[in-house]
């Protein structure tokens, strides 16, 4: 759970590309945000791995 929350934190830290259409917030990351996004991906992957392990453990008991 903490890993997933950290993944969200990492995504939030990724700087967004400035928009030129006058709107306040973009959804596209700027180039400097790649490292943050990579870190986020690692966190999410670790969380997904934990889920898969949990399912396997559950099924191994069934």
């Amino acid at each position: 759970m903490t890993l997933y929350a950290l993944g969200i934190v990492a995504v939030s830290k990724a700087p967004l590309r400035a928009r030129t259409d006058g709107k306040t917030e973009s959804t596209e990351p700027a180039s400097g945000g790649i490292a943050w996004l990579a870190l986020a991906a690692l966190c999410f992957l670790a969380y997904a791995a934990a889920i898969v392990i949990g399912v396997v453990v559950m099924l191994s008991k069934g």
Partner: protein
């Protein structure tokens, strides 16, 4: 044993499976629906599919009905039928009241009541009831609540100062994953009970050899019944869990569902029996407590606790009455009782139509807003 009796037991078992499905949809999907992570119809569809998948993933009937709670040698199809009717009746009543309660405990209660009437107290393992039913019923919601409370606190602490649009979206996606996991776990555990009941009845009737695995049609029928029940959506219970206990935000929903999944998986690994309903309800309350300044409606939680306390004795009383009634009425007794329970179910359905809860109003508030005190002082 007649084929007719087997048909009645099979149909009643599938009916129980159906009520189990719609009663327990809320466990997995209530928070996802409440936070808007999933639209109500999509949520129940996802849950239904995963329950069906779960039914096929695990087909062990080792954990047969009421094992360790009553003497397995005295469990006849008549006892199973009466137990199923007790469980169905309790599921319908609590569904009408919008109260989450354990279908497994209802089934155990029904079988215990029917066994008491059919054989006597010597066939009931009271120590098993304490260790397999009562102790987990107390510990599991507390444990899930504690884990969810800590997870909620950590989630808010970590993401409090981050971009809120990203946080909200991120936790909503996480909710879908964790709720799906709970649905899958539910399918593997609960559909199996019905398979066990039907297989046991067929073995007793000599239609299957001893220690048989459930036939494919039994797996399919049990899986489809629980999936159909799940898809129908127990909107009343979903509303209570999603809106009645606390106002849930996406980090809380994620924490509640993930904590529930962790507790269910860990207990499954340890062989510790527990109710998905108790775990998920405890998780939601914990998520409410874990957020600073969040309000938990303890009155609703209290009603749920009372329902949990009453599950075993109430289902036992119905199971005992049905078992006794079927016995007194002779050969057609089970048929008559089947008609009675069908009529009861239809009556509850008609009652529910008077204040219908559906996918359209499931996110309406359960607790009416408190009247605001208006100052009427002189000179105001």
């Amino acid at each position: 044993m007649t084929t007719g009796l087997i048909i009645v037991v099979v149909v009643t078992a599938l009916a129980f499976d159906f009520t189990n499905g719609f009663h327990d949809t809320a466990n997995a999907m209530a928070t996802s629906i409440a936070t808007g992570a999933l639209k109500p119809r999509i949520a129940v569809l996802v849950s239904a599919v995963l329950n069906l998948v779960g039914a096929f993933l695990s087909i062990s009937v080792a954990a047969t009905i009421a094992s360790g709670v009553v003497d397995a040698k005295v469990v006849t199809p008549q006892v199973v039928f009466a137990g199923l009717v007790g469980a169905i009746a309790w599921n319908l009543v609590t569904w009408y009241l919008g109260l989450p309660s354990s279908s497994s405990h209802a089934l155990i209660g029904g079988v215990v009541g029917a066994t008491l009437v059919a054989v006597g107290p010597n066939a009931v393992k009271f120590a098993g009831i304490i260790s397999k039913v009562l102790v987990p019923a107390v510990i599991s919601p507390l444990l899930a609540g504690l884990v969810a409370g800590i997870a909620t606190y950590v989630a808010y602490k970590l993401t409090d100062k981050q971009r809120q649009s990203t946080v909200k979206t991120g936790f909503r996606i996480g909710q879908i994953a964790s709720a799906s996991l709970v649905s899958l776990a539910h399918g593997t555990n609960d559909a199996q009970k019905t398979m066990g009941v039907i297989t046991l009845a067929m073995i007793t009737a000599g239609l299957l050899p001893a220690n048989s695995a459930p036939p494919v049609w039994v797996i399919l029928a049990a899986g489809l019944s629980i999936a159909a029940g799940t898809y129908i959506g127990g909107w009343r219970v979903i509303r209570t869990l999603g809106k009645g206990l606390t106002e849930i935000e996406s980090p809380q929903g994620f924490a509640a569902e993930t904590a529930s999944a962790v507790v269910i998986l860990a207990s499954s690994h340890a062989g510790f029996p527990l109710s998905t309903t108790h775990v998920c309800s405890g998780g939601i309350i914990g998520a409410g407590v874990g957020k600073r300044l969040a309000r938990v409606h303890w009155g609703v939680a209290g009603k749920m606790a009372v329902a949990w306390l009453l599950t075993l004795p109430a289902a036992a009383i119905v199971g005992a009455l049905v078992g006794q009634g079927a016995s007194l009425l002779g050969a057609p007794g089970i048929w008559i009782m089947a008609v009675v329970v069908a009529a009861f179910g239809f009556g509850i359905y008609l009652l529910s139509r008077r204040n219908s809860v559906s996918a359209n109003n499931v996110n309406d508030s359960v607790n009416p807003p408190q009247p605001v005190a208006v100052a009427t002082g002189v000179g105001a």
